[in-house]
């Protein structure tokens, strides 16, 4: 697999291919699986993503602690805001939906992780459905997202415990942005700018879940992460270029993660988890968990 997005972009553009094509080629070569076989596995992941969106949108789930659940349904049915009727609102709704399923120990696709599992299905299926793009296009997009995630894993990290939330919802936003730009007709270079634009917007983002539970703020970080991805997609497709190459933005994320205090890496020792309300809720809810 590639460890540099610049090299993947160069390979794709010099051969007139899309990033998904070079990604599938590399995956097939690495693991001796046919491209059709890999696409089939990605297709199953897509089906699970769609099920999680529907399951969460129903609005009847609560997390183990009861801290989160039911908010996706508010975006689906609740009062209108400035984004009502736009794919933007639909994407936010889907991000909450998948993450609410995750918090309730439902079945999701960790892409790249469970804590960041809402962004990719929300952005990709939300935009594909709005544009009438079918499963083949979505499967290609998942391959491109996988390529970007693999590069982040290689150069930085995909673990909140190692790199904070920038390595989870941040990486997911980069993956979703790059993949969606390809799905919507952008060039490989534009995909690279989308990754950089999304990832720069999440640099330094800490992982500070209340009581260490993947619930709060995780559910909402998936929605705001999706919003950052949408902003990056819009800018990249408009031809905006980010001066720092995606590889270097990813390296920076890794560096910041390594320098990040352990309190901000999923340990519930800092950030929102350490606020008076955060501590109180965690105390009450963990007690609930033990009792339940």
């Amino acid at each position: 697999m590639y460890s540099s997005l610049a090299i993947a972009i160069h390979d794709a553009e010099s051969r007139g291919l899309r990033l998904s094509a070079v990604a599938l080629e590399a995956e097939s070569r690495d693991n001796g699986r046919s491209v059709a076989d890999i696409r089939q596995v990605l297709g199953r992941a897509l089906a699970v993503m769609r099920e999680a969106v529907s399951r969460g949108a129903a609005g009847d789930l609560r997390s183990a602690s009861g801290l989160v659940g039911g908010d996706a349904a508010k975006l689906r049915e609740g009062p209108a805001g400035p984004l009502s009727g736009t794919p933007f609102r639909e994407v936010l709704m889907r991000a909450l939906a998948v993450q609410e399923v995750n918090a309730a120990m439902g079945v999701i696709v960790a892409a790249p992780t469970a804590g960041g599992a809402g962004v990719l299905p929300a952005v990709l299926t939300g935009l594909a459905d709005a544009r009438g793009i079918g499963d083949d296009g979505l499967i290609d997009a998942l391959a491109t997202a996988g390529l970007i995630g693999a590069i982040v894993a290689e150069r930085a990290s995909l673990s909140g415990a190692e790199g904070g939330c920038q390595a989870e919802t941040g990486a997911a936003a980069g993956m979703a942005a790059g993949a969606a730009v390809e799905m919507l007709g952008g060039t490989p270079s534009q995909c690279g700018h989308a990754v950089a634009l999304a990832q720069q917007g999440t640099l330094g983002l800490v992982c500070d879940p209340l009581g260490g539970l993947v619930e709060l703020p995780c559910v909402f970080r998936n929605a705001t992460g999706s919003a950052i991805a949408l902003a990056a997609i819009e800018m990249a497709l408009a031809g905006i270029e980010f001066a720092i190459p995606a590889d270097e933005v990813i390296d920076t994320m890794g560096q910041i993660g390594r320098e990040m205090d352990v309190r901000y890496r999923e340990t519930a020792g800092g950030g929102l988890a350490a606020t008076p309300t955060g501590r109180r809720l965690a105390r009450e809810r963990l007690y609930q968990l033990k009792k339940g």
């Binding site: 596995v41 992941a45 183990a64 079945v107 999701i108 790249p112 992780t113 804590g115 693999a150 260490g212």
Partner: protein, 224 residues
């Protein structure tokens, strides 16, 4: 090397790929070491596993893995209750397996016992469901479980690699990678063999029966 399918996956029960899916896989590998559901298991949690494991269902996931449940099995939710019915008695403790910057934050040491056989495994959950087993029965190893893997310790004698690769070839499995190391000439040779296909139990037994093989384990592929 990272695979796209590691990134877009696993399909899993929430809420955390490192604390739930990765933990489940580590439980499955510990189960491998004793060839089935252990009767007793002691689980020592280090770092973030110890601090936030409970809220992430790490306990349920490891016990579920020990019971043979995969990361996408919804029975993980109730694994702690199911364990007793399956004859598994488990205990948990929090521990410190090393310095903060030397040991991965999501690390666990699992001691399993089945039919009088005891095995100890230390492994880490690296994120996105990826895992690394770093020690088995006191031997330092490096197993990612992206392939079916055989790990063995043998006396350093001529032809040992040829003998083992022949046994595997006769079993019809293809070797993806093989790493051999030893501390000094004539010292124990350490082999990690990654395979494209699952080897049969007989081939592992044949390897174990070789007079100069001191120890061997077979670990299932956890991905794909």
């Amino acid at each position: 090397m990272v695979s796209i399918l590691d990134i877009i996956g696993p399909v899993m029960v929430g809420p955390s790929s490192s604390h739930t899916a990765g933990a489940c896989r580590l439980g499955l590998l510990a189960r491998n070491l004793v060839g089935g559901t252990p009767q007793r298991a002691h689980v020592e949690l280090h770092g973030s596993f110890a601090r936030t494991g409970e809220g992430h269902g790490t306990d349920k996931a490891i016990v579920g893995g020990l019971l043979g449940f995969r990361p996408d099995d919804e029975r993980l939710r109730t694994a702690l209750e199911i364990a007793a019915g399956e004859g598994l008695a488990y205990t948990f403790s929090k521990t410190r397996l090393g310095e903060e910057n030397e040991v991965h934050p999501n690390t666990v040491r699992i001691t399993v016992e089945r039919d009088g056989n005891t095995s100890v495994m230390t492994g880490s959950s690296l994120g996105a469901g990826r895992i690394l087993v770093s020690e088995i029965d006191g031997f330092p190893v490096e197993v990612h479980a992206n392939h079916h893997t055989i790990v063995l310790v043998a006396e350093d004698i001529r032809g040992s690699i040829a003998r083992i690769t022949t046994l595997l070839a006769e079993d019809g499995v293809n070797i993806a990678t093989i790493r051999v190391s030893r501390r000094h000439r004539g010292g124990d040779a350490f082999m990690v063999i990654e395979l494209d296909e699952p080897p049969g139990d007989e081939v592992r037994d044949h390897i174990k029966e070789l007079a100069w093989v001191r120890w061997a384990v077979k670990l299932d592929r956890m991905t794909g």
